[in-house]
Structure formats: C-alpha cells, structure tokens
C-alpha cells in the first residue's frame, strides 16, 4: 500500500512518513506541485501542516486544492491541510478565537470511520492559529471539536476526504497512530 505525504512546509511532515511506515504502508515525501496525474496508482494521500494561512493566498499550495477537489482516492489533511480541505469543501478559514499550542482535548461528535476506537474524548497535540469555520452549503460534516476550536475533525459529504486540525503524527498524540491506521484501512477498500 503506497500513501505519499505532501510536504506543506511543516516541521512534522516527515513524522507522517515515519508513522505510516511504522504501520506497514510505504510512503515518501512529495511536493505540492506534484500533479494529480502523477499520483495515479496511489492508495491514498496525506497532506501535512505548514506555516501559512489559507486566507493569505493559495499560490504556495501548488496543486493541493485541485487534488482535493478531483482525486478519487482517500485524502487526509493535517492542520494547514485540514484547513485547505475545509475551504475546498465550501467552508471558511479564519483566525481562531484562541490559538492552541501543545496539549488539547478533543471531543468526538461523530466518530465516522476515521475516529473509530479513540473514545468520546481524547488528548491531542496541536499547534495552530487558524481554524475552519462552517458556512451554509459546505460539503463536509463536523466529526470533532475542542473547547477552543469548533472543527477539530471533518469529513467530506460526498467523498473520502478527511481533515484533522491536530497532529496525529506526533508522539504526544497517543491515539494518533490509531487514527492513521483507520485512514490506511480506508485506503485499502
């Protein structure tokens, strides 16, 4: 099973590759300017976090938006890429009321498949200033929230596209590996 990781400039992007390898998938870093055509044959795709704000322009994100919109394989977006997915699916990205740095507690509203087995509440590690905001007509459902952030996880309504605001790839998110495993199971289908 091959699941590449799109490097969006974040510090933890390489940890995603490491975590995917540890759960038995093959993975490598690819750049955001990789075309959708070049991704033919992959089983899924993870997009990493990064230091940018979606509302400051999307030119740095290469083909990421197009891939989110057109790809048929499952996609998991983390942090910045979660926000990018939120925007692609009709939501809005705004500066959060309170930033989250370090430990946060996430409450599951709808486990769907991606949050299976993590419990109704779990501890995560996050690092973000921006967040996704629901907008009328948006084509995603909200799977989880925290005290400070309304949308900690989301899923596309009509496609297997997922976003998590927190970092599943770091060691301080104890259930992170389970969520990535859930994602790889979705990629097998």
């Amino acid at each position: 099973m091959h699941i590449p990781v799109v490097f969006m400039g974040g510090q933890y992007n390489h940890l995603i590759v490491r975590a995917l390898k540890e759960i038995g998938a093959s993975s490598r870093i690819i750049l955001p300017n990789t075309s959708l055509e070049a991704l033919k044959g992959v089983d899924g795709l993870v997009m990493g976090g990064g230091p940018y704000s979606v509302y400051e322009g999307t030119e740095k994100f290469g083909n990421a938006l197009e891939i989110i919109e057109k790809a048929q394989f499952p996609i998991l977006g983390i942090c910045l890429s979660h926000q990018l997915i939120g925007k692609a699916l009709g939501g809005e990205v705004v500066k959060g009321r309170k930033p989250e740095y370090g430990k946060a507690t996430v409450e599951v509203l709808d486990p769907d498949e991606i949050l299976q087995g993590v419990g109704s509440e779990f501890e995560v590690w996050a690092s973000h200033n921006d967040e996704v905001k629901w907008k009328e007509g948006a084509r995603f459902k909200i799977l989880a929230k925290s005290v400070y952030c309304h949308i900690e996880a989301l899923k596309g309504i009509d496609k297997p596209v997922y976003g998590v605001q927190f970092h599943v790839e770091v060691a301080d998110t104890p259930k992170g590996k389970d969520i990535l495993k859930n994602f790889t199971s979705l990629c097998k289908k």
Binding site: E22, S26, G102, H167
Partner: protein, 391 residues
C-alpha cells in the same frame, strides 16, 4: 509492534559505510564531534568506513559543561580515533561580544566554528567534513524556527567555497531515538548514547541575551546541580538542563494575574526583559518569558498555567514558575536560573516533567549558593509553544 519498515541499525550501517567510502574516495575526512550522541554515533560510523583516513576534531568553545572537555577526550579515545582539540574559548567570546539577539548569536557562533574547523581540517589534508546532522536539525532550520549551527547546505551555503570543504551528513534522515539505537548498535557507545543531549553551541544557547564569562560560569555551576539532582529521578527525565537570564522584569500584560488566580494564591505575573525562542503553528516565535509566582492550591495544577498565560497574551512563548528568590534586602545576585526538564520520544514535541516541588526547592537552595544568582524558576512550557532550548 513496529512494522517491517521499522529502523534497522544493521542494514543502515551497511548501506552508509559503503556510501561514505565511495563519497570520500582516496582523500581524507574530518569529523567534528562534541561527544553528544549524534556526533559520536556519526564518528563511530565514519570510522568503520574510513579507518585511519578519518581525523576527529573537538572544538573547545568555552561553552562546555564542567569537566566536559576531559570527558569527551576520554570517550573519543575509547573509539581509537586520531583526535585533535581546537582551543577557541577566547575567540568565541570575542566574536559574540555585544550580541543579544538569539539568531545573531547563532550565526556568529556558526561562522567562527566553521572558519576554525575549516582551517584545522585543511592543515591535516582533509577536504571532506562529515557531521552528524539529524532530521530535526534541518527541519527546524528550513522551517525557519531557528538556525542550527550544523545546518549549512540545506540553507544554500556552499561549504566548499565558503569554508573549503565538502560536507557529508550520513544521519540526515534519522530522528533522535533512531540515533540512540544506532549508537548502541555500534557498540562501546553506551555511555555516549545515554548522555544528556547537549547542543553544539553548548551553554551559549542557554545563556539568554548577551554572553560574558561570569554569566557562563554561573550557568555552568547551575547546570551541574540540575544534572546531579534531576538525574536521581526514577525514571530519569528525557532531558534536563539549566538556562540563565538577567533577573530584570517588567509588569505583565493586563489580565495575566486574574487568569491564574484560580490556580495560585497570591498570584503575581511578570515578564523577563530577555526574550526566548519558541514555535507556534509551524512558525518561529521569538517572544516573552512570563514569570509566575504564588502558592499553588493544587501542585499538579501549575502545569495548566502556560495555557492561561498564553491565551491572555499571544506574545508569550514560555511560562516559568518561581521556585525561590532571595529576599530583596539580601539580594546580591543579578541572574535568574531556569530549570527545564522534558519528556519526549523524538524532541519534535515535548511535555514538561512533573518534577516534585520539594526537589525543585532543593535545587533552588543549592543554585542560590552561587552569589551571582538571585532567583530560580521552573519552565512549565510544552513544545509548542516553546522549544527545548532557549535560543
């Protein structure tokens, strides 16, 4: 538990030994090692590949811990490496004089380090420099979090042109825990693989703001106390260290005191004038260090303080809890010593260790025996928003 792709030191060594031999060719190579895990594992690996064609340099920057120079020389002699010490304490102090900004200090350190190393390597006829850069070093640097002293090519520095050597970095894809596994696999390195991580610029990046000989000496003494006392904890924390800053403070942003009064009786919040490095939302942050004083209603709740303080003021990157200060009447010292202890797998994210307050108080009493120190505090901040080191 780990899948088929888990890190395997044996095949890693086999692959890299071959690669190093091919890349060095018929020439000679130098390696700079600090005695830390990364560079010691790397030296050991390079020695396997090159034997007598490798020369090992140890740079005495003057920012080493007490007794460290002797210990490192001893450790490296056990590896049977031809070894040379470059004594450069005065040169570093001179080149850093008057610099208070963290990045300016790191850049000056790097320039002096590689200039001296390049000179020494050329004298020995080496044209290749091998170094133990690992993944978090270049990830942080290319992300602009902070300039690691050993990251050059990823930043577009042409080492051949600038410093006169080709650079080889065999550990570039490894994380800290993998490097430890490698060091252990390479044998005779158990001591090195269990040492506390110590950055190349050493005490310099824990000496917040301008650096001078007295300040480094006070930090050296505090570091010894902290390593002795926290080393006794079982299980031992992943990393523990001391940092130092002038004990000059300004009032905190309005609302800070109220935000923590639920946790502390008689709460008081101030900011140090000195700034420190952090990381927020994948961006480098160079911001304020808050000093919080007061009696904890419930000791474990002091670890909730950072979130409250940072939410009150987004410019804060560190939250320090006051352990002990001299009474103003007897105040002789001018420095605050910061104790830091963290738990982590790979140093990409960290949590503060829940060190018992009683132990922190004992550390404070011992550190305050040093006349130049007026205060001791404990760093409560995770990464993010702080980093492990201070600059």
């Amino acid at each position: 538990m780990p899948g088929s792709n888990a890190f395997d030191p044996a095949s890693f060594v086999e692959e890299k030994v071959e690669e190093i031999r091919v890349l060095v060719g018929s020439g000679r190579a130098a390696i700079a090692t600090s005695g830390g895990v990364d560079s010691t594992a790397c030296a050991s690996l390079a020695h396997r590949a090159l034997g007598g064609k490798l020369i090992c340099f140890f740079m005495d920057t003057g920012f080493m811990r007490e007794g460290e120079v002797g210990e490192v020389v001893k450790l490296l002699s056990l590896l049977n490496l031809p070894m040379k010490v470059i004594s450069a304490k005065d040169r570093f102090l001179k080149d850093l004089e008057g610099k208070a900004d963290a990045e300016a200090k790191r850049l000056a350190f790097r320039q002096t380090f590689y200039t001296l190393l390049g000179e020494a390597a050329r004298e020995e006829g080496c044209d290749v420099l091998i170094q133990g850069t690992i993944a978090p070093d270049w990830i942080e640097t290319s992300g602009g979090i902070k300039t690691q002293h050993n990251v050059l090519e990823q930043l577009g520095v042409d080492t051949k042109k600038t410093f006169g050597f080709r650079l080889l970095e065999p550990l570039l894809d490894l994380y800290k825990d993998q490097v430890r596994a490698l060091a252990e696999y390479l044998g005779a390195n158990v001591e090195a693989s269990q040492r506390q991580p110590f950055p190349g610029p050493g005490l310099l990046v824990r000496c917040i703001g301008e650096v001078n000989e007295d300040k480094v000496e006070a930090l050296r003494v505090a570091t010894k106390v902290v390593e002795e006392e926290l080393g006794k904890l079982s299980p031992a924390p992943k990393q523990y260290l001391a940092a130092i800053v002038e004990d000059d403070r300004v009032p905190a942003k309005e609302g800070a005191k109220e935000s923590v009064s639920g946790v502390l009786k008689g709460a008081k919040v101030e900011y140090f004038k000195g700034l420190a490095t952090g990381v927020k939302g994948d961006n480098r942050a160079y911001g304020k260090m808050a000093l919080v004083s007061g009696e904890a209603r419930e000791p474990s709740e002091i670890f909730d303080l950072p979130e409250k303080i940072v939410h009150n003021d987004g410019e804060v990157v560190r939250v320090l809890y006051n352990i002990h200060a001299r009474m103003p009447a007897t105040k002789t010292g001018k420095y605050a010593v910061i104790v830091r202890s963290v738990e982590t797998r790979d140093f990409m994210t960290v949590k503060p260790t829940h060190v018992p307050l009683k132990l922190l108080k004992r550390i404070a009493e011992r550190v305050l025996e040093e006349d130049s120190v007026s205060r001791v505090c404990y760093d409560l901040t995770s990464k993010p928003p702080a980093t492990v080191e201070y600059e």
